[in-house]
């Protein structure tokens, strides 16, 4: 069964639409980073990176990199007027202290109670955690952006995570290639789904019950 689905860029576009004007946001390494390029016009969003920069901008032109000016993914960045630098303790005071409006992270698995697993696939290889365990407890809202299923087609949205947790009951919204869902005391509540995918089809590729408590909207994104 091949379902119509959003590309990674389209998921990022969809997540970008929900970021309000004036927000302070941390975007995780990888797919979440792409959200910045789809920021709707007329909104001012200030991006935070764990290594001590607030208010950074686009990547510099190739050859223009300054390697003292990088993001948490160790990619070269630029700064916007009004940016600031600070030490790592102050940076995580912003995170842990609840000063960020939103953190958007990738996920291996998300459970219906909001548990997130995104740092370890188990015992093989070198483990690495970075700032993910801090971010899930700090931001006012923690959203996940991910393909709806693994590369093998297995559900990433589950009753319980089977991989090591990053944080318990921390995710509140999920943007996937097939749907937008909120996590509520009921579990996964479907807010939007891709047209052409039925509720039953979506349930089949989701590892926990989907709930509906208001009209489900069409999940649409432009070609980006």
């Amino acid at each position: 069964m091949t379902l119509p689905k959003l590309t990674g860029a389209q998921i990022a576009w969809r997540a970008a639409q929900d970021i309000e004007d004036g927000a302070y946001v941390n975007l995780g390494i990888g797919l979440p980073e792409r959200i910045a390029q789809f920021q709707p016009e007329g909104r001012t969003v200030t991006y935070h990176t764990e290594n001590g920069v607030l208010g950074f901008g686009d990547a510099p032109a190739p050859g223009q990199e300054d390697w003292d000016l990088i993001n948490a993914g160790k990619k070269a960045i630029t700064i916007k007027p009004g940016a600031s630098f600070f030490n790592h303790a102050d940076s995580f005071a912003m995170v842990r202290g609840g000063h960020l409006d939103l953190a958007v992270l990738g996920a291996y698995q998300v459970a219906e109670n909001g548990d997130l697993a995104n740092w370890s696939v188990g015992s093989k290889g070198v483990p690495a955690v970075g700032g993910a365990m801090d971010l899930v407890h700090g931001a006012k809202r923690v959203a996940v952006i991910t393909d709806h299923v693994t590369k093998d087609g297995k559900p990433k949205l589950m009753r319980e995570c089977t991989l090591p947790l990053t944080g318990k009951a921390c995710v509140t919204r999920i943007y996937t290639s097939l749907a937008v869902l909120d996590i509520t005391p009921m579990g996964f509540v479907l807010r939007e789904k891709v047209p052409g995918v039925s509720f039953d089809q979506l349930q089949t590729v989701t590892g926990a019950p989907l709930h509906i408590d208001e009209t489900v909207q069409d999940l649409k994104a432009p070609e980006v």
Binding site: D21, G22, A23, Y24, T44, T46, H48, L54, G55, I79, K80, P81, G82, A83, S84, F85, F86, A89, D90, F92, A93, M94, V95, R96, G97, G98, H99, L100, H137, G138
Partner: protein
Amino acid sequence: MVEIAAQIGDTLSDIPDGARLMIGGFGGSGAPIELIHALIDRFNTTGQPKNLTVINNNAGNGGVGIAAMISAGMVAKMVCSFPRSADAVAFGTAYMNGDIELELVPQGTLAERIRAGGAGIPAFYTPTSFGTDLAIGKATEEFEGKMYVRERWLKADFALIKAECADRLGNLTYRMAARNFAPLMAMAAEVTIAQTRTLLDPGGIDPQEVITQGIFVDRLIAVPSPEQEEALVRDEVNYA
């Protein structure tokens, strides 16, 4: 996102009765006199806000600033390290009359509790006050052969602070020793209100020299010629 107010009173109009206020300054250095006096003006006009808890290193001097708030009857409780001084008559009178509550906190513990409030650290251990009356009722524990007292974070509904420069995104710098508690309070309050001598466009402060990042600041008001509490006290000014 920071709001830039046209009138100083606009920055303070939603502070309710019973609010917890952190007020920057050590003695007069860094005291946001204009913000405090604007709050007294509101109280004198509307009867609000009252029953305030005020967190500051001291408890006001002479007849201005926090001392004037106390004299006006706005303050139910002070949280501070050093409420006693030659000029702290307003607090002393209210305290001896039983009209005001006092939570006395060692200065370093006060600073660290406020930082903890801003940094999402609900409790920490400090050697300060172990074995003293100020540790009574607090959990203690030994680490590496030394005894420590457990202290809790301190947060507030509003912080009132005084900056030297601000940009329109809320980034702040401070003048000399006027910095003291302000950067910590900006982190620990739900709403941080800063008066600033100069207000610049974004980029007007070198990103390496920002002391308080805009993420911690909610409201700005330009006060180009701020009063200095110590000078007012020496001039025996009474704000009433």
